[in-house]
Symmetry: C2
Subunit: 441 residues, 2 copies
């Protein structure tokens, strides 16, 4: 089986061109991303212009940059000019200044202005994500007028499926879908067909908020307004899906105490990967010195009953697990909008019950084996500790993300690893206090 | 400020109706989901028919069921008949049999047949997600013919933006977008306009695979084929986004060792929440008994140098954190298709380097404080253990998910908590072997 990588290594350009002809756009993009840097442009140059654009747009900015660097001026200019303004702004936001200047230099004045306008909005804002190329209608138009305008102006627009309706001052009055236009009589008025209950965002709003809104409201495109409520662009659903995927990746990274890599895993160097994890590992190991202090405080008890040490990992693992379960579920419920801060009392009550139920279950399960293999009094200590630690960890895991959001910290930051470390120290205190009382040491 | 909950409690129906008129569909759906069960139907009955449908479709199946149970027959029948077949199939898949029978009984024959057909496909398959209501074209049609057919048949279709082109045997020949039709001359032939390089799935394929494909290829609709390659439905992008959100919620739940709740957090009982977490907590506590065995084996060393116990939580927390960092990043990279099993050697090499780098950093940081506050030989033990445990945990965290996928286990299952527990026991062995060698005990 010939594949892109081996054909490229063999420099068999004819076979490569044939292979590219027979392969789907998405598959080419995926294979291209895996090629070594210097071979990317070689393969890419074999693609005809329209396919090249499709493949290019399916790539991550990191890989786009590697290809751009290998292209000659004419091809470079063509490719950049053919991109949608929002995709171009995304690329520019992520490449070094040197490449960015070359990209901007290759644009016609009109395209350059549109791109620069998008770059004027803050990073991760809806303004960066929107396209300024849309077709807007007027209320007074008939369906026939509207369809004529779509035919005239639609070729350049990124979407024509959602058509915003504006007044003379570009204020948004409503939206009408291409579907409604096509299914309505030609003499119907746009003002009568349009939906006035429009969901829209401001250009400075967060991208994730815009994307979640589109997901909830099942929108194919979302109008974006400036600070004076004038229509400045629309966000299309494909870009919203990309944002949701990126945000998920970012949240997951945070939930496992790493910073997002900001580029595909395999194209990041070991040093970059290590850097993305180092800060959190350091913070967590400093936080974990709390456990050393707690144990030092109880060193006499430990020296008297060495066997107490045997259950330390089991107890703190269980506390950590119970805490991350609660934290993850609550963080996710907040992310998709099921839980708000006002629900804190309900969440508290719920998780306290859940914690007790789980703790009792674990305490009961642990009692027998510890009593048989060690001794019954130690079994009492371990079981009672499990019930208490499990209840406390569940409770803390659920409450901390809600409190974090309240004071303006991303809840993903206080998720599993941080909660585990905090619960560990308190869990050890609980364990040794119970041991002191029961074992009378 | 009047809100839905207080107006509903006050049973002020006039004020309620006014409030509903002034509030957006999405906001009503969100507020409705938070109302107590018995009040949901009361409020819902005040909505006019078309808004009621929009609100109803924005709700989760759990809440849809609660509303349905409170409606009289005529309103019930109307609502169910107005739903899209795929949304109805989703509702039916999640409500008790009693409600499901009533839903099916309320349908016209045509709608019932369409719904039953969807229910014939396996759960979580693309067949369950697709809509059988689409408009298909023929290659021989002109744009004028095609637009006429869309006008005739489009009102019932869930989407008309992506129009599949089929032959006499309903085999998929290509797709054409409504955009292309609208922007092309009326006498152009569909066969010349359509794209032949079509991305499609089979009805028995997994929903998540279909949804990710739509996300990667930026599709608004995806054709679904039966086992004989005939077109049986299309999946629309709004349903795909819903699936991706559900899958994310499920993966996150698994990554924190809980089973997915299968319903919104606040509407699940404490018992249900506890059940979703109990199995994994039990599995993990049984796995954690390994740590007890390891420590028991080294009990003499512990008794001789009690201080060794002080660093147990810090070491196993760090190992757990390093392991989950690697596991989470690799699992995510696999989920979005950046990493495959064939990349195993590259991932291995990368993570081994990352592990050593991180381990050296932590070892260096820990050496000073332990040497000063305890003693230099103990500092050597702790530092060398940190380097070794960190390297090992990073390596294991990256490799286990890839191996799991290879043998057909969902990588999310072997993620953070399980890896943490496994790394804990091996980490303790490493620690005590190093302590034995350095401290000569």
């Amino acid at each position: 089986m010939a594949d892109l990588a081996s054909l490229s290594r063999a420099r068999d350009l004819d076979a490569l061109a044939r292979h590219l002809e027979e392969t789907g756009t998405l598959d080419i993009a995926e294979d291209l991303a895996r090629l070594p840097r210097e071979e990317k442009a070689v393969v890419f140059r074999l693609l005809p212009r329209d396919r090249a654009l499709a493949v290019f747009e399916a790539l991550d900015p990191v890989h786009q940059q590697e290809i751009l660097e290998g292209l000659r001026d004419e091809r470079f200019r063509q490719l950049v000019e053919d991109m949608d303004p929002d995709d171009r702004a995304r690329l520019l936001g992520e490449v070094p200044a040197k490449v960015a200047r070359r990209v901007l230099a290759g644009l016609s004045r009109h395209e350059r202005e549109m791109t620069a306008a998008l770059l004027g909005y803050p990073e991760e804002s809806a303004g960066r994500l929107m396209t300024p190329e849309f077709v807007s209608l007027r209320e007074s138009m008939t369906v026939a007028d509207a369809l004529a305008k779509v035919r005239r102006a639609g070729a350049d627009a990124e979407t024509i499926y959602m058509l915003p309706v504006t007044d003379d001052q570009r204020h948004l009055r409503g939206v009408v879908s291409l579907r409604q236009l096509v299914l309505s009589p030609l003499d119907a008025r746009v003002g009568d067909l349009m939906v006035r209950d429009v969901v829209a965002v401001h250009a400075t709003d967060d991208q994730e908020v815009a994307a979640r809104l589109m997901q909830e409201a099942d929108l194919l495109a979302l109008p974006v307004l400036d600070s004076e409520e004038r229509l400045v662009g629309v966000i299309t659903v494909d870009d919203a899906m990309q944002i949701l995927e990126d945000e998920e990746t970012e949240d997951r990274a945070l939930a496992a105490a790493t910073q997002p890599l900001g580029r595909p895993y395999l194209s990041a160097s070991a040093l970059r990967v290590a850097r993305s994890r180092a800060t959190w590992l350091l913070i967590l190991i400093v936080a974990a010195t709390l456990t050393v202090n707690v144990l030092q405080y109880f060193e006499d008890e430990l020296a008297t009953v060495v066997r107490l040490a045997l259950f330390i990992p089991l107890l703190i693992d269980t506390g950590g697990n119970a805490g991350s379960q609660a934290a993850t579920v609550v963080i996710r419920a907040m992310a998709v909008g099921e839980v708000r801060f006002a629900d804190l009392p309900r969440v508290l009550g719920r998780e306290a019950q859940v914690g007790v139920l789980l703790g009792l279950m674990l305490g009961l399960v642990a009692f027998g084996p510890v009593a048989v293999f060690f001794d019954p009094r130690l079994a009492v200590v371990v079981s009672v500790s499990l019930v208490t630690i499990c209840t406390w960890a569940t409770f803390a895991g659920a409450v901390l993300p809600l409190l974090a959001r309240r004071v303006g910290i991303d809840p993903a930051v206080v998720s599993a690893p941080l909660i585990t470390t905090l619960v560990d120290a308190t869990g050890l205190v609980i364990y040794f206090l119970i041991a002191r009382a029961v074992l009378e040491i």
